[in-house]
């Protein structure tokens, strides 16, 4: 079943599934659906996780190896490219499903292992390594002795609603989505509800914006709906640029139609006829998949003129961000769409009243929109039952850093951070200790181990001074230098600051310079310098307060987050850097002190010749010595010593 599909199949699915309110099918329809969904197979099916993360891990080579294997062994099987099901640290992921048997999932299936893996499956003998688990399904024979995926700690805690289809279905084939009930919500909405009713339903569900702001989505839509104008716009913000966060990409590469359906319903609710999907221009694969998905949706009549005969028209256009982190902020995004520099604007007026080209514009995060079809399908009460009292539904989280497992997960609101760390991520790898968790990207905060009992939720996190942001979570171990990491984030924000307002443009620069002063070794050591550095830390706190108070947009307001939280919880590291000139984690290279082990040194003189500061003395064939106050800690000698005679503290 490829992307082309027959028009007849499309028509069938639209009539029998999309427009079917009851959800009850006759026998032959049910049969066909289970084939389209690849539950019932007539020949083997091989699924390869071809998200960008998978491709980086080598999934494209795996794909070629699979094709070669099938040709050489003259086996007929369908190859389906799917998105990433979330366990990125196990990629490339390869699933094999034989007719009548469960779908079997293999981890780390690099090209070289393909032959053995497929051999074992097709010969019904299973290898011991590489198996991740099997998808349990009613009516499929299970592979003996293999765990079910839902019992794995990585999947056990998850509630995959937004990511329900990601990694399962083919993103390139709309029929797959349709056969699972796709576009039913859109049909139900445009033919049965007024736009006001849709806003009401979504407001009742208490869906809150998933980009960190946490504003009630339904209420935002209502503002736009009630503002009179000749044109209104809906913008799907998929411009994720937080380093270490790629949830939007995963969703777009895995289940683009869910996003499109959510956009269509939202556009209907606010009275917009034009919608934009704004995503990074370097998400090349996502753009290709999305473009094709929009085309397919249009051909099926879900976009364009007179959708489902309701009179509702909608065009969806892809807009590529040209590379600026600040364009994730809604007013900067709008400025960029208007053809200008991505500079945020004052609010009020809010975009829902006056946005793109002066018209009412709703900018929603892609994850927010991806929740919408399910809410319309199951009703607001169903959605409210998930999560906590003040934060309903789920949150997609991207775990990266030093965890045993990394990837993209979806948990109900109310899940404790510690459970995400221990159960989903499997703790810290290589037996190291957890030092802190970074929540909320480069303008987020460090959460120390003692605060990890906190539950995920807008208000619960605010109580510990944190926010979920767009859902990026980075696990840090004892080898992380908090000062250096804070400096790294400040560098990033400084580069990405738009430059409009003084506190962010100049203030973050001063903060960065102070942090650089702390992590760099000065030319001459003197107590005056130490005092300067200490004063710098005090200035950091003062500056942070003013930057937070006066910055125009979220980038500036949250920029001091990492520095302030690391000062709060890891002050002793700062003091060590300032007073002892030492980086315990060994990260700040400039603070390293190098020594030559006289027993190992054979006097080859290479280090002395290479030292840029002439800080090494010694004669040939005699042990050499490093002059500490000339040494800048660059490490060239360490790199060039062939006898491992140089070490550092």
């Amino acid at each position: 079943m490829t992307g082309s599909g027959t028009p007849k199949l499309t028509e069938f699915l639209v009539e029998k599934v999309v427009k079917n309110y009851s959800g009850i099918y006759d026998k032959s329809t049910a049969e066909l659906l289970s084939r389209v969904r690849r539950e019932k197979l007539s020949q083997p099916a091989i699924f390869i996780g071809m998200g960008s993360c998978g491709i980086t891990a080598g999934a494209d080579k795996t794909l070629k190896a699979v094709e070669t294997y099938l040709t050489e062994n003259k086996i007929k099987a369908d190859i389906i490219k799917v998105g990433c099901m979330g366990l990125c640290s196990a990629e490339p992921l390869l699933d094999v499903q034989l007719p009548g048997k469960t779908r079997l999932s293999f981890a780390n299936a690099t090209a070289g292992k393909v032959d053995d893996l497929l051999n074992s499956v097709f010969h019904h003998t299973l290898p011991h390594d590489n198996i991740l688990g099997q998808y349990r399904f009613h009516g499929h024979e299970e592979w003996p002795g293999i765990t079910s995926l839902e019992e794995l700690p990585f999947f056990g805690l998850q509630y995959r609603m937004v990511l329900k289809n990601t990694g399962i279905i083919s993103p390139e084939d709309i029929h797959d989505y349709l056969a699972r009930g796709g576009y039913k919500s859109l049909f139900k909405t445009v033919l049965n509800y007024t736009p006001e009713k849709v806003c009401e339903i979504v407001e009742q569900s208490e869906l809150r914006g998933r980009a960190g702001g946490g504003y009630l989505t339904g209420r935002k839509w209502l503002v736009a709906l009630e503002t009179g104008s000749d044109q209104k716009y809906l913008i799907c913000n998929a411009d994720e640029s937080d380093p270490g966060a790629y949830m939007d990409r995963t969703l777009l590469e895995g289940d683009p139609h869910r996003v499109i359906e959510g956009i269509a319903i939202a556009a209907y609710a606010i009275g917009a006829k034009k919608a934009y999907i704004y995503l990074r221009s370097d998400y090349k694969r996502a753009i290709v998949i999305l473009r094709d998905a929009i085309r397919q949706a249009r051909e099926c009549g879900f976009l364009g003129e007179n959708i489902f005969g309701s009179g509702f028209n909608l065009t969806v256009q892809i807009s590529q961000g040209a590379g600026a982190f600040v364009c994730g902020e809604e007013t900067a995004l709008i400025a960029s769409l208007e053809g200008g520099r991505g500079i945020p604007r004052e609010k009020p007026p809010f975009p829902a009243e006056k946005g793109l080209l002066g018209r009412p514009t709703v900018v929603n995060n892609i994850e927010t929109l991806a929740n919408v079809p399910a809410i319309l399908e199951n009703g607001p009460a169903w959605f409210k039952a998930i999560g906590t009292k003040t934060s309903k539904g789920t949150k997609v989280i991207c775990i990266s850093g030093k965890g045993v497992r990394t990837g993209v997960v979806e948990v109900p609101m109310g899940t404790r951070l510690i459970d995400i760390v221990n159960t989903l991520a499997g703790g810290i790898k290589n037996g190291k200790q957890l030092k802190a968790v970074l929540l909320g990207g480069p303008s987020g905060v460090f959460v120390p181990p003692q605060d990890l009992e906190t539950e995920i939720g807008f208000d619960t996190l605010q109580e510990i001074g944190a926010g979920i942001g767009i859902g990026g979570m980075v696990l840090l171990d004892e080898e992380t230098c908090m000062v250096s990491l804070s400096k790294y984030f400040m560098e990033f924000l400084q580069k990405e600051s738009c430059g409009k307002c003084i506190p962010c443009r100049e203030g973050t620069k001063r903060m960065l310079e102070i942090l650089e002063g702390i992590t760099r070794r000065p030319r001459e050591e003197s107590s005056h310098e130490t005092l300067e550095r200490f004063k710098g830390v005090v200035q950091l706190e003062n500056l942070a307060e003013v930057i937070r108070d006066t910055s125009l947009c979220g980038l500036g307001q949250n920029a001091p987050g990492p520095v302030l939280s690391s000062l709060k919880w890891f002050r002793e590291e700062y003091e060590e850097h300032i007073f002892d000139r030492r980086c315990a984690a060994g990260v700040c290279h400039d603070l390293r002190t190098f020594f030559i082990d006289v027993d190992l040194c054979n006097g080859c003189n290479i280090c002395q010749r290479k030292c840029p500061e002439n800080a090494i003395i010694g004669t040939v064939k005699m042990p050499h010595f490093i002059i500490e106050n000339k040494c800048t800690g660059c490490g060239i000698c360490f790199d060039s010593c062939k006898f491992n005679a140089i070490y550092f503290k």
Binding site: T56, S89, G244, S281, Q320, G340, L357, L438, Y488
Partner: protein
């Protein structure tokens, strides 16, 4: 005026500023960089001052005023890779190629860039050469790859 611009100008209507970034993106994709003549032509078509077009182009990471080298090396410096050793990797490449990040070698063969997160955080450090990704790479391997490229050029 060359065909590329003519095609773009018929696709994006005159005087409509909203078309500026998509036009520049298509030119950047096709030609690798933007020149003064291109900026002037685009400015005339969209009825904007040239300085405004230049100012917009200079704001975004995507637009270049000098093309990359024949082999463009990108070292991911997202959080995951940063923790995974991207900094020392970048320093090593800088030394090996004798160019600083953000620059192109004099012969135009290599250019080097530290880029924000590529989204393969579990496979850090990640580098990309002309779009081809090399995950979990170390200095030794990178030297070998660059060496091979250099030899092929010779």
């Amino acid at each position: 005026m060359e065909q590329l611009l003519l095609d773009l100008f018929s696709k994006y209507p005159a005087g409509k500023k909203e078309g500026l970034i998509p036009i520049l993106q298509e030119i950047q994709e096709e030609k690798g960089s933007l020149t003064g003549e291109i900026l002037t032509a685009v400015a005339q078509h969209l009825e904007l001052p040239v300085n405004k077009v230049y100012g917009v182009a200079a704001f975004y990471n995507q637009f270049l005023f000098r093309p990359h080298g024949a082999f463009h090396i990108q070292v991911c410096d997202g959080t995951g890779c940063h923790l995974g050793g991207s900094v020392s990797l970048l320093t090593a490449v800088e030394k090996f190629l004798k160019i600083k990040a953000g620059n192109t070698s004099r012969d135009g063969q290599f250019s080097l860039e530290a880029v924000p997160c590529m989204g393969a955080c579990d496979q850090s450090p990640v580098i990309s050469i002309n779009g081809e990704r090399y995950p979990r790479i170390n200095e030794e391997e990178l030297r070998k790859i660059i060496g091979v490229i250099k030899e092929k050029k010779v």
